[in-house]
Symmetry: C2
Subunit: 312 residues, 2 copies
């Protein structure tokens, strides 16, 4: 129980997943990228949307998670994505994450069937909590309607929080809708339900609203600056920091996010393997990589320490 007692807080990254030339997940490169993130005070939301988690089988995710823990990465700073379409997959992955001492799990709703009821989603989470049967379990609900197309309503959160206090630990709000994040902060944060913004664009506003931090794609490439704002948001330069973070994020948002993150890591590490993606995602074109590189350079962007960490 001890390892899980500290609540996850601050900045986490949905860690991008490297693939070898046969498109197999590359556990060694993943561990090195995780080390670099941890060295920049960014926690490990492995198997998030930006990790291509849903392009990995349950077996592959289990194996990668075990490798990371064996490699000595701190499991109490991990929030692996364990919410799958199949209840049986969600249970298997979540059980293993708890056994390995993960600080929490980030759980998508089952996302194939659309227009499902809150009752059905409630039963999904309740069945997982029941099957895992471990008081160390901390579930962070993953609200990302633009991708999953299955939202997690405020009414559903209220019901889950009432029936499973402590276990229902918080949310990642990737709706992109500040009004929704703000409603969660006002309604649930005072009950110890930790609200994480879905990107650093709302980090300062979330922290000022009493929230826990953010879980952001671009924390894969800009971890130090994002973590600094989470650490110093009471400082007088907080708004300037926030503005700078958004400016950097916008460079990546001109491209499809996941291949753009991988292209930046490939460029700054000199390791082209990072440009591999599993279908249905595709890498940036050589021309796009050039314009991204130029835009990052013009922005004064850097990834200090990455190269050494990424050496094979």
């Amino acid at each position: 129980m001890t390892a899980n007692s500290a609540r996850l807080t601050g900045v986490l990254s949905p860690v991008v997943t490297p693939f070898d030339s046969d498109l197999r997940p590359d556990a060694g490169r993943l561990a090195r990228h995780c080390e670099w993130l941890i060295s920049n005070d960014v926690g490990l939301a492995v198997f998030g949307t930006n990790s291509e988690a849903n392009s990995l089988s349950t077996k592959e995710k289990m194996s990668l998670l075990e490798h990371l823990v064996e490699a000595g990465l701190p499991s109490q700073r991990m929030m692996p994505g364990t919410g799958c379409c199949a209840l049986s997959d969600s249970i298997e992955l979540t059980k293993r994450a708890v056994q390995l001492g993960c600080g929490g799990v980030l759980m998508l709703p089952p996302f194939y069937y659309k227009g499902v009821s809150d009752e059905g989603l409630y039963r999904n989470y309740a069945a997982i909590i029941d099957a895992v049967g471990d008081s160390r379990l901390r579930i962070y609900l993953y609200h990302i309607p633009p991708v999953a197309q299955v939202p997690i309503s405020l009414a559903l959160i209220e019901r889950l929080l009432k029936d499973f206090p402590g276990t229902i630990a918080g949310v990642k709000d990737s709706s992109g809708d500040w009004a929704n994040t703000n409603a969660m902060l006002k309604q649930f944060q005072p009950e110890g339900f930790d609200v994480f913004a879905g990107s650093e664009s709302f980090l300062l506003a979330t922290l000022r609203g009493g929230g826990a931090g953010c879980i952001s794609a671009t924390a894969n490439v800009n971890p130090a600056a994002i973590a600094r704002l989470a650490d110093t948001w009471n400082n007088s330069d907080a708004d300037d920091q926030q503005t700078a973070l958004i400016k950097t994020r916008e460079v990546f948002q001109d491209y499809v996010m996941i291949p753009a993150l991988k292209a930046a890591i490939a460029q700054y590490s000199g390791d082209d393997t990072w440009n591999h993606l599993r279908p249905p995602l595709v890498e940036l074109t050589p021309e796009q990589r050039k314009t991204l590189a130029a835009a990052l350079k013009a922005n004064g962007f850097d990834m200090p320490g990455l190269h050494a960490a990424a050496e094979v």
Copy 2:
């Protein structure tokens, strides 16, 4: 190669998956329902949308498929759904289906990431075909934009058909858009690409347009009548048959389809276990079951032979 040489044609059913009271898939009941469908000349599109396929793990699907073949059901009349979000899952399932002699596989595109490119979807199918590496493989593309939210465009079909003739065997069009089905019939059916309508509502029109048949949810409960139209569509009563099929289908469409199908099977078999569904889907309320039963009775609906087949 012999077992696969006959093309799948006529009517197939996305066979509903029974679950026991612990929500484990029930292979015995599934096999009995498959026997009843085959006895009514309906093929087995197990692991379709209406099978709650995406609520099953890859391991569970492998095990169920093996059980059906061991139970003596004809694999050459099976078109299991093997398209998953994860490339590795799709490869594993598809390989096994081919090894077991399945007449074809029905493949969803990877459906988590939205707004993906045709290039990415092409690579997904190409990678699976390459990894399976078996000339017996016949892929039926599964176009169901209302649920998957990831469409299979005519341009993508054209490219796949050109590069993998024979292997790209056809499509199930569940768009509900007759103009799209008709475009597929005109553009691809003459090349030996078999177009299946996504429900019996378009069965007669599809057959008149040169198509192969339909794959329909309601074939789970109304198999004989649907198969009869596929068999006698040149008869003078074909339009009357089509009208009657639509009338029966509309009774089910007043409810959420999957629980309604299960409620009818539970009612006509006297086996209440059929009312179990995995979250996020939920069973019909007792009141809904009553009104469904009354509507079916008023329609003269029956499921002859089901009770005996469903006996444990």
